[in-house]
Amino acid sequence: MLADIRDASLRTRGLERIAWARRSMPVLNAIAGELDLTGRTVGLVLVLEPKTANLALTLRDAGADVIVTCPASETADDVAAALVSEGVAVLARSDASPERDRAFALRMLREGLDVLADDGSRVVRLAHAENLLGGLIGAAEETTSGLRPLRVMADRGELRIPVLAVNDARSKYLFDNVHGTGQSCVMAALDLTGLQLAGAVCVVAGYGYVGQGVARYARALGARVVVTEVEPFAALRAHHEGYEVRPLLDACPDADLVFSATGVAHTVTREHLRAMRPGAVVAVAGGVPDEVEAGDVPAGVTVLAEGECVNCAAAEGNPIEIMDLSLAVQALAVDHLVRRGSTMAPAVHLLPEELDERVARLKLRALGIGLDTPSARQREFLGRGL
């Protein structure tokens, strides 16, 4: 079995954290029994922490050979050790150089994967660039920022495998991007800085799903939130939800805390950083490389987690219940690719609607939340269409 991890003796702490997460993952538990991945090799490139470890174990229990890799900054060594002790192949260590991270990904691809679950589409793109697609049936992509380059590749006719857009499942982006990333990024920034949010000014660049969540949780903890946008509908939406909306450069001098939530490189530039006052803190929520131009930070301004996604790089990642939804979608996507991937065109595909809805219904059942059923008269009204 492949294993290159930092410290196998951290296993016990990793197993404790995996077991604690499992308690709050009823949806993944519910679908575990229906997956059949016998004899398949599945590569996982998700942030290596206790929740994704539960996905790895679920796929293993469904019969797959699972290989996990993860960049150093997103690797929890105790969880890596726990997975190895459970018979999962892991190539990930928190002390790896970027070159070694790349070598890990290449080594995983050379093992011959059937399906790849990717994060940021880093490894899908690497497999294309290095001509290592082999017998890869398809990939599932977790994030907004990972799907964008894949869609560009598909438009240019360069994408050679089908990709399931896990991110675009409603049971993922309506909760993970808003509540998961929102809560965890705000809390991570507070844990790292000791900032008191009550009465502070928090600037949120970008009012997409992640920005909406960050703004909501910062406001809930007492901050005055300013939103900045480039897109007119998003700006109007923020305005109607009660936020001040201003250009970023104009808002910087007032900011105690600035979140970049655009997923676009060069959002917070040197000019913005220079406009901030001493003591200001900048963090990236979600994020792509160079979203904050962190190379030349003025004295007195702090960029958290070196400009990487603050909740992955500096805390325990998204909340467990949220990752239960996202990882259940991942598991169903992997299973769907195994069953149907060979008939799918090389393009970015949405998860079938019925699988997405199944995740939402399983979560409601786990919560004990009932739904109304449309009455015969309501169905008749809807069926009339007039």
Partner: protein, 177 residues
């Protein structure tokens, strides 16, 4: 800034850091007079359960204390008196000795009630070091004596599990972690 706001943020940070759970959608019983904490939790999407009838006007659900505790996923300000009512899987933040001078805060604060609630971090209540990395020693620090006499089991850093009966296990957070 009022101490209540400071303690509210500190408690929420500690709960979420220790558990890695989501606050939105949680049923949270807030025991004791912690209006700022209750307001913050509600704003984060928790369904807050309070015993003070006036809390209904601020969007909280009002229930008798034992009923609130029986419904709660999370009990802030838990004491030994709540043990019989807790549901399986409940997470407890023990009540701590008052960490502030009296007379601060909102005008609706009642006197005569001992102020309870989450401790500001760090504030181990008994000065013991945290439980070791393995083992089942009872009474780790910071549990506020809620479970004096019951053997606790380490679950993970800062969380101790207590089995109250068949199929009923609750978790106590060590807020000093």
């Amino acid at each position: 800034m009022s101490d209540g706001h400071r303690r509210a943020q500190a408690a929420i940070q500690a709960i979420l850091r220790l558990t890695n759970l989501l606050m939105a959608g949680k049923r949270v019983a807030v025991i004791g007079d912690e209006p700022e904490l209750a307001a913050r939790l509600r704003a984060m999407g928790a369904q807050t359960l309070l015993a003070d009838p006036a809390a209904a006007l601020r969007g909280h659900r009002v229930l008798a204390e034992d009923e609130a505790v029986a419904l709660a996923d999370l009990v802030v300000g838990a004491t030994e008196a709540h043990l019989p009512f807790l549901r399986d899987g409940a997470i407890l933040i023990p009540a701590a000795p008052p960490a502030r001078p009296s007379g601060t805060g909102e005008p609706h604060e009642t006197d005569g009630e001992p102020p309870t609630g989450p401790p500001a971090r760090p504030s181990g209540t008994d000065g013991e070091p945290p439980a070791g990395p393995s083992g089942t020693g009872g009474g780790p620090s910071g549990t506020g004596g809620v479970f004096a006499g019951l053997p606790g089991v380490r679950v993970r850093d800062g969380i101790t599990g207590y089995r109250l009966g068949p199929g009923r296990e609750v978790f106590v957070l060590d807020m000093s972690c």
